[in-house]
Amino acid sequence: MKKILLTCFMLVFVLYAWAQDRTVGGTVTDGETGEPLPGVTVLLKGTGNGVNTDLDGKYRISVPSEGGTLVFTFIGMNRVEKEIGSKSVIDVSMATDVQQLSEVIVTASGIERESRATGYAVQTVESDEFLKSRESNINNALAGKVAGVDVNASSGTVGGSSRVVIRGVSSISGNNQPLYVVDGVPIQNTNIASVDRFSGVDYGNRAGDINPDDIESMTVLKGGAAAALYGQRARNGVIVITTKKGKKNSKMSVTVNSSVRFDSPFRLPDYQNEYGQGSINKLDSASQANWGPRFDGRSFIAPDSSTATYSAVPDNVENFYRTGQTMINSVSLAGGDDKSTYRFGITQLDQEGIVPNTAISRTTFNLNGSRNFDNNFYSSFAVTYQRSDNDGRPETGFNNPNAVASIVTTIPRNIDLDRYKDRDVYLNPDGSPVPFLGITQNPFFSLNENVFTQDVNRLFGYGLIGFRPTDWLNISWRLGTDVIYDNRKQIYQAGSSGYVDGGLWNDRIFEQQTNSDLLVTVNKDITDRLNLNLILGHNVNDIYVESAFDRGQDLTDPTLFVIQNANNKEASNVINNRTRIIGAFFDAGFSWDNYLFLNITGRNDWNSTLPVDNNSYFFPGVSGSAVLTDAFDFGSDLFNFLKVRANWSQVGGSTTPFQLSPVFFPQTSIFQLFGVDNTYPFNGIPGFAGNNARANAELRPEITTSYEVGGEFHFFLSKLIVDATYYVQQTDDQIVNVPVAPSTGFSSFFLNAGSIRNSGVEVKITGTPLELGDFKWVSTVNFARNVNELVSIQDEFEFVDVPGTRTDPGLRAYLGEPVGTIFGSDWRRDSEGNILINPVSGLRLSQDGQKIGNITPDFRLGFQNEFSFKGLSVSALIDWRQGGQIHSQTVQSLRGNGAVMETVEGRDLAYIDNGVILLDEDEDGNAISTRPNDIAITAQQFWGQQNTVDADGVFDATYVKLRELSASYTLPSAWFNDLPIGSLSLGVEGRNLALLYSKIPHIDPEVSFYGSGNAQGIEAFNLPTTRSLGVNVKLTF
């Protein structure tokens, strides 16, 4: 690593030397290996007098006769100071800087930069973190590890989506997720839904494809400044992923890594087991609710016409889920000589979900290499090919007989699901499905017969050629691409609800992103202390998404699920979206004596989605940092490294394609209440429709302005490190698709309207409370608090809908509030806050359109402890999310149908609800007169009414989770001296082990019904998230 650092960073050659009284010399060695260190800077403190060590680590420097202090510095090593005194030989052993004070990080476009030189907050997660506790989705592995990064997994669906947001939501309707960059090339992170109105399948977001086994490090660039060079797409931060490479001058090594992991539902509802199927204390075998009589073991005719005993089946839901299993095996081969590197890796992932008959299998090939040529040219490339096969992906949602979780979660307590899982039970002899519990569909039929599939083929990578004609000029061109073919099929056997004669959906999605970066880097010492690093760049980016969606039903051959076999099919619904950006940018970096740094950046983008007159926009940035401990001599051991940093920057943003002019869309199908039958042409007549969103030919780019100040402070020889940042980020002129009164003829207008402001603090504290010999305990706390607010909006509006919700409750952004107000029905109250009661029924009165919560959390905190002793390492991560609210349809339904513990109490009693009876009201619905409530209702009515009002489903989403617990042991290499084994390590890992604290009953608060889009904080029969336990073996030859 140090060799690489050497090539990457321009050394400060110190040329001043003047007549001195005497000379001092010595050898500088690496304290760990004992090998000499060439290129170490040796300075006479307080002067410009200095030299570098030679290839053998030796130096000789003139010093005053009275002595002084020598300062030894080298990238990646702790700074050493030695009193000269009267000595003439001073040998120095330098220790590796474990805290990586001077580590190189990768920022924009593959540009490497020393972390001390950055004027913005950066946090890196190394590969070990991804492997010691495996997640098949790398996004989830970031949870709790990086301050300011909010990770939210959607559900327990295999290959399900996961949302990452850095420093809060900055756009109401646009993308809020960071840009993912792999080896300098932006890749796609789409979460394209193939949904109908109330349900759908979580097909995952494409960043989840990234193979953890190939990752060397993930660097999170948080602010706009960190990303000015990527242009608008980096507004939400950048996750820079560097893949593993072969190392120069290393022998060929083979690494084998095998893991097996077992998944189970993380949290299932606390069911009651005292009452069963029925209503009003009457047993009803067709009921889906649990308001029947108390279990008494009587015989009754079960829904499948068999005679059953009326008693609880306590584990009926738990037994529906099986133990999920994931196997990940990878083999990689890497090495290099003095001019080339090479690495090839194969990873195979096989995962069976906790839901029966759902599985995914993913194979990843990764190949990369580099070569330096004799004529100053160099080149490198990397290519990753992936194939994911997904057999069985459950439909989620509700109001949909095919969505299993909604049926299973609220299954009556006396139904033994095991009895219904066999084919000859859920199918009639003629092959048609047997209706299940009245009028729904057997979940086993749904899962085993209507098997949804997804096949994703993906190729991404880059090629780079570079030319380094002199030591100060470097020209490189990197061309990268990411190509995805995603083929999804949803099949419905004849007899499925809504598909009497069978049907299918087929969605073929093609995505491509091509990116070209031409960089010219000039690195010159202007004076002996001042260095200039100037980057001139040109960038072309092209994103293309094509989707062809076919839907058909009424199959001639009921077993053939191809669109040609459908007698009723609509024409393919085709989308072809293309966005292009051209950018030109510069980054002028100045460093003074390697402790004072200043960067000035600027970028102009030309964007295809904006009107020609407004499609060119420039955005500047400036950042600076100072390493105070190098600048001044504090003369104290309290702190050994102090760095302060600050930056200000702007980033411009655009919109989605085709929003500028009104058009007519050819219609294919015709919306109807259930299913889709009618298609165009109708009686030979075609149909067209205009835009729902009013086009706007005068859109301007939106502008995000941000600044941050922060610092990195190391105390007690880096035993305590505090990295803190305060930032403010405001996006103005937001391009928003503002919902308007439909009587305008439109659902929404595209407008430049509104500003969102995020401000917050991020703190990372790393401490080493105990270090005794080989034993070491390192504690890390990541804390982030973000305050989000919609600070302005166009005059005629009071709020903007957050798009993406399909039914009540919805999400909105209100002026002066954090984006994400939950909006739905609530109980009516009098002026004193008493709930108003209907004078006839004794039930509560409700009203629509109320603010009932907000999804925005107060802060997030990750707390990691790692204990290591020789080859043994144990670590635990606790993840705490404070505040914010979530709406749970599941909790409301479970209560409404009497399935859970809290509904047991008071079933035999009449209940008089808290509240007052409404006697008279004014025109606006304000209570004029009331009287105390004296009308008794039943427990069934009480819990039934809470299911009708959205406010009763809103809960505090605070949680504390034991996110990770892992132990690994690297066997002493001495054991393998006679074997061809380089190293062997073993690990056990657990993820999502315990919910230590939560205010919401029955469900995991960390879920999202609508996937990874902006519509968060809404839960509705999500599949349970998973708890995982696994073991891992890593072997290097």
């Binding site: 002019s661 299913g675 075609p686 067209f688 207008f749």
Partner: protein
């Protein structure tokens, strides 16, 4: 080194200079900038028909007890409605598909001076407005789909009706019967009349009669009604139904009746008796007690055309009507079921039938709003309605029609106006949305409000969609509730 820098800067300039064409990719390849107006008329028509068949008709029919829904979509039985469906109708179907899109088509047609096209589109819009204002009681009319108004003001029902009448006059004034060819007229893409402007004119005049009669208990429109009926204008008055405004459906799944689709798609869940495969009649819409009693009391032959007995019962079995609202159901075998004349794959969506014209005329004559023979008009209306079953297994013999008319001579009625209104209540069977409006206007026949609902009267209106209350600053803070009468209701 200077030459490198020069070379590079030149390169950057060259790379950036070809951006104009490179960036010119912002035109949607899958959309048109101009289309034939008929394609927008088609989409607006089908959007309206879909809402009528899936929501407005079944809901209206349940509200006024034409039938009783069980198992699915039972909310309207106790005056419930779907908030999502209500919003979808307002936001997507009504103001976008039916108002905005035809407006775009009208602009295209006006540019080319194709006046019949404009008339066809405006007649459709006028027809649709009646659905809107009857449902919600108040809604934006005069400021809609106008770029000057971001928050269109709500208009009172009476003002909207005046607007509808003006719109109808405007459309009728544009019709040129001497040029019924493309492109002056939408012909091949006209699913209602195939470009027959005489029929469009009849539809327009008939809608005028409907609108004026709607106002007849709350405003004095006698002169206009009289003038209209005596003008010799062209109405939908052919008793054989050949002029009826209907949206046709076909015996194929891609062009089938939307209401039928609900039953067909759920046949495996018991929407048919005895079974999905051996279907004999649907199971989810029962004969209502109110309609059965009414028909029985009148000895009306339509009883067995509207309803069929349980499949195991003989054809002449006397089924029992189910009481709307919370009430015990008759035993399955004793129930009557809405016949498959109404719930079938190719059942047409009837927008305006000759029976309605004749029965409205009969009422006008009987009430003295205009001069004419009420008895003849009643007879024509009855003949026209009983004739719709001709050629089906529900056909009513001519002798029975004649006998019914003879037995119900208006002269013999103590309250002939109420009787005529009651006859239209029957003739609007299957057109639930218009039947609900007609009942609110006339309050005939008397209905007992369904028990178990949130209100103690028959529902008067559907509340404004929550979404528009929030998104339009000119909307009322709260919607009038569903028991607040709409402006045209007769209150006694």
């Amino acid at each position: 080194m200077k030459k490198y820098i020069t070379l590079l800067l030149t390169g950057l300039i060259i790379l950036t200079s070809c951006e104009e064409d490179f960036l010119d990719v912002n035109t949607n390849p899958n959309a048109s900038s101009e289309v034939p107006p008929g394609t927008l008329l088609m989409n607006a028509s089908i959007a309206l028909s879909q809402n009528r068949l899936n929501t407005l008709n079944p809901d209206g029919a349940a509200f006024i007890q034409h039938h009783k829904p069980v198992v699915v979509l039972t909310a309207p039985d106790t005056y419930g409605f779907s908030e999502i469906g209500n919003n979808n109708f307002w936001e997507f179907s009504f103001y976008q598909d039916i108002i905005k899109d035809p407006n775009l088509a009208i602009n295209i047609a006006l540019e080319e001076g194709n006046n019949n096209v404009v008339a066809q589109l405006k007649l459709l819009q006028a027809f649709a407005w009646i659905h809107g204002i009857d449902r919600w009681g108040e809604m934006p009319f005069y400021q809609v789909n106008n770029p000057d108004f971001v928050n269109p003001e709500f208009d009172e029902g009476a003002d909207v009706y005046q607007g509808i009448l003006d719109l109808l006059d405007e459309a009728l004034g544009l019709i040129d019967l001497n040029n019924q060819d493309e492109p002056f007229t939408i012909v091949t893409f006209d699913h209602i009349y195939g470009g027959n402007m005489n029929n469009w004119e009849a539809f327009g005049n008939s809608l005028k009669l409907r609108a004026l009669m709607r106002l007849s208990y709350v405003e004095n429109r006698d002169a206009e009604i009289s003038a209209l009926l005596s003008s010799g204008a062209n109405f939908i008055d052919e008793v054989d139904g050949s002029e009826d405004a209907i949206f046709r459906y076909y015996n194929q799944r891609s062009n089938q009746n939307f209401d039928y689709a609900t039953f067909d798609n759920f046949s495996n869940l018991g929407s048919y008796l005895p079974s999905a495969t051996d279907r004999q009649h649907q199971a989810w819409r029962l004969a209502s007690n109110r309609m059965v009693t009414l028909l029985e009391d009148d000895n009306d032959p339509r009883l067995t055309s509207f309803f069929v007995p349980y499949y195991t019962q003989p054809d002449d079995y006397e089924f029992t009507g189910a009481v709307n609202g919370a009430a015990p159901l008759p035993d399955p075998a004793e129930r009557g079921f809405v016949s498959d004349f109404y719930i079938r794959q190719d059942a047409p969506d009837v927008w305006f039938a000759a029976s309605e014209y004749w029965l409205l005329a009969a009422e006008a004559y009987q009430r003295g709003l205009a001069t004419g023979d009420a008895q003849t008009a009643f007879a024509n209306g009855t003949t026209a309605h009983m004739g719709i079953f001709d050629g089906t297994e529900y056909e009513i013999a001519d002798a029975d029609v004649t006998a019914y008319i003879a037995a119900n001579s208006l002269n013999g009625k103590t309250d002939p106006v109420s009787f005529i209104q009651q006859e239209l209540y029957k003739a609007l069977y299957g057109n639930g949305v218009e039947a609900w409006s007609h009942w609110r206007r006339t309050k005939r026949p008397a209905l007992t409000p369904a028990v178990g609902g949130p209100i103690n009267t028959v529902i008067s209106r559907i509340p404004l969609p929550q979404s528009t209350l929030g998104s339009n600053s000119n909307a009322p803070d709260v919607s009038p509730l569903r028991d607040v009468p709409v402006f045209f209701e007769r209150l006694n």
